[in-house]
């Protein structure tokens, strides 16, 4: 650490010393800046304090984007007792730097290995658990039910059916898929799903942890499937200029019929003027029948920083957060799915469909940019974006990605 950073850290910890040194108080840093998550957090904290009257929670709520850089500073300079973050390789840098506390004992003592089973793999590094998940949501294809009915299209279950449906829509002057790739990550969803269907979950994990070269023919096979949608013009044009929200008007106005997205998009679609009965949800179709179906379900988590001052009470908080009651209530407010398999899922047709799909899934992927190392994720998604505009440059793109993989995973 450089002297200046040390100074800054010292000043920060001096300023916050009076609050964080109190016994029976835990400091919680998180990023629930949107209305629903904020309300869910407020309720959670109030309920926790009721259950543990001797502990008070001091909550510092950060802006969603700013949190990503703030966490690096406060984990080293002035760690809180509990911090929000994400599962998968996203937490790996902090685990490797020794900034997160091993919480395997919380899992052990509260029977979480059983109750949070579906997320256990993504919370484990080096055989230890590094945090507690509390919510996730499904990804899949949201489509305009009414348009499908008008065109006489059945929701596709296989790749060939999807291609046939797309051809039919295109003929009717409707672009099959909308997408906005300005913020890169929506391309990751497409790549992941095609990869999960063509090569399977195990290959996804091998690729994102850097064990398979991008020049491998199996990676190329993914892009070949993708090109079958890109070359006939099944995606909206100029997607590189718009964000994921800007892609929704295409769907609302009926210019496009399908959208591969996370469940959070439903709220925006409804805000845009779609009625619930107009929106349908379907699982990403099967490509290779020999590959078991895996799904994307990014998981949000809480962790204890290794520099926390009140680890004992922080562990009580994590245990409470993992309980079926807390997760039921929280996810009802969030409109997402609880991770605890004893919790009740919210009554919502999309979440019910998602819950059913996820509970039958072979495995759950976290999403390309959470499973792959950050630098690789950025380069990869930039490559996907370029591929979606210029599919014939696939070999150049894959060679470039391989060059970066060789460097990132030394």
């Amino acid at each position: 650490m450089t002297p200046i950073r040390k100074l800054g850290g010292l000043a920060l910890s001096l300023a916050l010393l009076s609050t964080s040194a109190l016994a029976g108080e835990i400091v919680l840093n998180s990023d629930q800046s949107d209305p629903a998550p904020k309300k869910a957090m407020e309720e959670l904290i109030a309920d926790f304090q009721e259950a543990h009257p001797d502990i008070t929670v001091k909550w510092n709520n950060f802006d969603h984007e700013g949190y990503k850089s703030a966490i690096r500073n406060f984990l080293t300079a002035n760690p809180p007792d509990v911090a929000a973050w994400y599962a998968g390789n996203r937490m790996k840098p902090f685990v490797d730097a020794g900034l997160f506390e091993d919480v395997s004992d919380v899992w052990e003592e509260n029977g979480l290995n059983e109750e949070l089973k579906s997320a256990a793999a993504s919370m484990t590094i080096d055989g230890k658990k590094w945090g507690v998940p509390y919510t996730y949501y499904q990804w899949g294809i949201y489509y305009r039910k009414d348009i499908f009915e008008e065109q006489g299209i059945e929701p596709p279950k296989t790749w060939d059916e999807l291609l046939a449906a797309s051809a039919k829509l295109k003929e009717a002057g409707i672009t099959p898929f909308t997408i906005g790739t300005k913020a890169l990550w929506p391309t990751g969803g497409w790549f992941d799903y095609l990869n999960l269907r063509v090569n399977g979950y195990e290959f996804h994990m091998d690729l994102t942890s850097g064990e398979v070269p991008y020049t491998d023919p199996r990676v190329k096979a993914v892009f070949e499937k993708w090109a079958e949608l890109i070359e006939p013009g099944y995606f909206v044009e100029n997607h590189a200029a718009i964000d994921w929200q800007d892609a929704i008007p295409h769907l609302v106005q009926g210019e496009a019929a399908m959208y591969l997205m996370g469940n959070f998009a439903v709220a925006t679609m409804k805000d845009g003027g779609l009625k619930e009965e107009q929106i349908g949800f379907l699982q990403f179709p099967q490509i290779n029948p020999d590959i078991p179906m895996s799904e994307e379900a990014p998981t949000d988590t809480f962790h204890i920083p290794s520099g926390a001052k009140n680890k004992e009470d922080a562990k009580k908080f994590l245990a409470y957060l993992a309980s079926p009651e807390a997760q039921t209530k929280m996810n009802e407010t969030l409109g997402q799915l609880p991770v605890n398999n004893k919790a009740e899922k919210p009554a919502d047709p999309f979440l019910e469909a998602g819950f059913e799909m996820l509970s039958e899934a072979h495995a759950l992927a976290q999403f390309y940019d959470r499973d792959a190392a950050a630098e690789m994720a950025k380069a990869g998604m930039e490559g996907f974006q370029e591929f979606m505009v210029k599919p014939d440059k696939v070999d150049d793109i894959l060679e470039r990605l391989e060059k970066i993989r060789a460097r990132v995973y030394k």
Binding site: N238, A240, V389, R407
Partner: protein, 302 residues
């Protein structure tokens, strides 16, 4: 006794004369040292390391620079920076033209002046957003116009061929206003007697501008050149707001590339970011040295 005191006082005075300016400079120098010089030295130091901002730094010597030379994005950024540098200079003649146009005594000219001044007042982020909407495919006025004209929809910010020009155009808007202000101030100080004399000698229109007005505006031109060149090299906010360097990195510039590698969500390669910072710093140094030597020469001649 009294003599000794008097003697002491006399001998102290020259010292005080030497000390006083430094005392006055001290706060500024201290700030300069802490916030400018030390970070520059630190950047050089960090650029020789592999560091994620969290763990220990590991020395890799010139490794970051070797990697930079092999990085396609680096060359894209360099080329775009050059485009920015050259095209941004257009704001100087544009600013001059607007200033000449506004330098009239017509009723209501103040309103026009403030309208031209407006883009400089609003934040670059807002400028970026306005132009993003302006270019937006589907409903942006420009793309609607282009579609009507050519029959094809052109999404400026999604097309690697046009994207950098689109962003530079957005940048020219406030920068032209800035140059205009500098020239308007300069025009206030024009020697009216010289203009009268030239007019009697038959100078008019362009020859008046070229031989009489422009030479008197030289200080304004110089400042406009300095701020425009530096401004073009540190172009960051517009790139960040309008495209985030995309599509697929084709609108990258060095300053945004540096931010992305060092501080963005997918970055945290402090060493690599620092090496880009060093390169940008060296490029800037070329211009800054040139400007400062010119300024010193001019001051000496006066």
């Amino acid at each position: 006794m009294t003599e000794a005191v008097a003697h002491k006082r006399v001998s102290r005075r020259p010292n005080r004369l030497k000390l006083a300016p430094w005392l006055f400079l001290a706060p500024g120098l201290l700030m300069f040292l802490i916030y400018v010089l030390v970070p520059i030295v630190e950047s050089f130091w960090i650029s020789f390391h592999d560091w994620d901002g969290l763990g220990a730094m590991s020395w890799i010597g010139m490794g970051n620079y070797v990697e930079l030379l092999d990085d396609d994005t680096f060359y894209v950024s360099l080329w775009n920076n050059l485009l920015w540098l050259v095209l941004y200079l257009l704001s100087i003649p544009a600013g001059l033209a607007v200033a000449l146009f506004l330098n009239q005594n017509v009723a209501g000219i103040r309103i026009y002046k403030s309208m031209f001044f407006f883009p400089f007042v609003i934040s670059q982020v807002v400028v970026g957003l306005i132009f993003t909407w302006f270019y937006a495919p589907g409903f942006g006025p420009l793309s609607v116009f282009l579609e009507w004209l050519t029959g094809d929809e052109i999404a400026i910010l999604a097309d690697e061929r046009y994207v950098t020009y689109g962003i530079i155009l957005a940048g020219l808007w406030p920068q032209t206003a800035y140059c205009m202000i500098l020239y308007l101030a300069g025009l206030n100080n024009i020697n009216s007697e010289q203009v009268e004399a030239a007019r009697m000698d038959g100078a008019k229109g362009f020859s008046m501008l070229w031989h009489v007005i422009l030479p008197q505006l030289r200080p304004a031109t110089f400042i406009a050149l300095v701020v425009t060149v530096i401004g073009s090299l540190r172009s960051f906010d517009l790139v960040s707001i309008m495209t985030a360097g995309g599509p697929y990195g084709s609108s990258q510039v060095l300053s945004y590339f540096m931010y992305e590698q060092a501080l963005s969500e997918y970055g945290y390669r402090m060493g690599y970011g620092a090496s880009i910072a060093v390169v940008l710093f060296l490029i800037m140094m070329v211009f800054i040295t040139f400007f400062i030597t010119r300024m010193l020469n001019q001051e000496r001649n006066i």
